[in-house]
Point group: C2
Chain length 261, copies 2
Amino acid sequence: MAPHGDKSDAAEETMVAEAEKRPISTILIVMAMQSEALPVVNKLNLSEDLESVFPKGVPWVRYRGFYKDLNINLVWPGKDSSLGVDCVGTVPASLVTYASIQALQPDLIINAGTAGGLKAKGACIGDAYVASDVAFCDRRIPIPVFDLYGLGLRQAFSTPNLQKELNLKVGKLSTGDSLHMSTQDEASMVANDAVVKDMEAAAVAYVADLLKVPSVFLKVVIDIKDGEETTAEESSQSFAALERAVTQVIDFINGKCLSDL
Amino acid sequence: MAPHGDKSDAAEETMVAEAEKRPISTILIVMAMQSEALPVVNKLNLSEDLESVFPKGVPWVRYRGFYKDLNINLVWPGKDSSLGVDCVGTVPASLVTYASIQALQPDLIINAGTAGGLKAKGACIGDAYVASDVAFCDRRIPIPVFDLYGLGLRQAFSTPNLQKELNLKVGKLSTGDSLHMSTQDEASMVANDAVVKDMEAAAVAYVADLLKVPSVFLKVVIDIKDGEETTAEESSQSFAALERAVTQVIDFINGKCLSDL
């Protein structure tokens, strides 16, 4: 219902097709927690942007830098100004993704982070997954069509070469704002046939889809939803595995076009 | 962690205090559904903004107009472009609130809509409530401090004169993305001591708080969570009651300062 400028859909499709054949230049990495972000910031030698592209008062943080041929921007929603904890979950992730797309016009979004995994579906701690598609597991609106809207199923950008080259696991991802899922959330995750569960991806996908930015979802399993509790050592190893996975993906992307992924 | 410009906190507090003594001029009404918005649009004689202040491609809709001495902007997140249903819930509400604040710099936000009510707490269909505070009921993160972050409790802007003059009910509001709450969501709503439950308010409050815009939450009970199903006639009456409540609030605000509310 909003006006759509003066470009026809056909012209837009041509632009998208052309963009897929140009080398990827600007990357937006969206992460939810400082402990996930900092190892990547250090590895890629990024620096905090002190001239914020975000409005005054928001805690959102952007790290930036050039890595090989890529203009890398890593954003996270920062710490809650009253409580001091990471602003995890769908609402801050959607806002920082929206504001970053507006400010930076990225060619590609990588939403990367740790996630829970289902042992029954083959997930092990430290596994790096690329999501084939993402959906919400905690938005139940049992009215025809609204039920599908609540589910919010979206396909990730297709990356067959990346998956094969880096030997990444591929699976469906469910997103919910609770760390501890309700029985209904778990049932929804099973109905989604999901193997990993995070707290942001489906919201990032929603915004990326609204603004037509290709997006991929890279999640490293840090705990097993249907198994033992994670040890401190396993957590630490998962953050290291996440850094390695992000770096491998960035190295693979460098010099390639979207259609090469 | 974002830079905070060159104004000290003291200077900012002075500016806020001065703003509270100036007549309210620009109002942002945030609603979630077309069926909630259109009666208000018609009553206040607003027109759809065809030169959108929002980015290309988003379905967000803004209606605008002058009503008495007020510059009124009513926004709703529009219809899902694939599914055709209203974009209800926290993520679209937070995005459209964020983008509207950035574009319009409102003096006051009114998040208005229909909601569920608890009979056990005194709610009846058609009752208009002003929320004293809002919180999420579906973000369970059982880690110290993260639990409070998940709850996201925020006080609404204080409006004692408005409440008294218009004889509005006052109560606590819980927000969750599911129309049908899980047992855990219900327990959280009870723990919050909430009387009404909607799908957007706590997210609107989060954004308004980030960007320091005073916000009030006006909710008309359309169904009873612990009672009989709503009839079509009762639904229709609730939408009419919502339009009357919004109009009464706007009439009350006209010519007043924030500190008069």
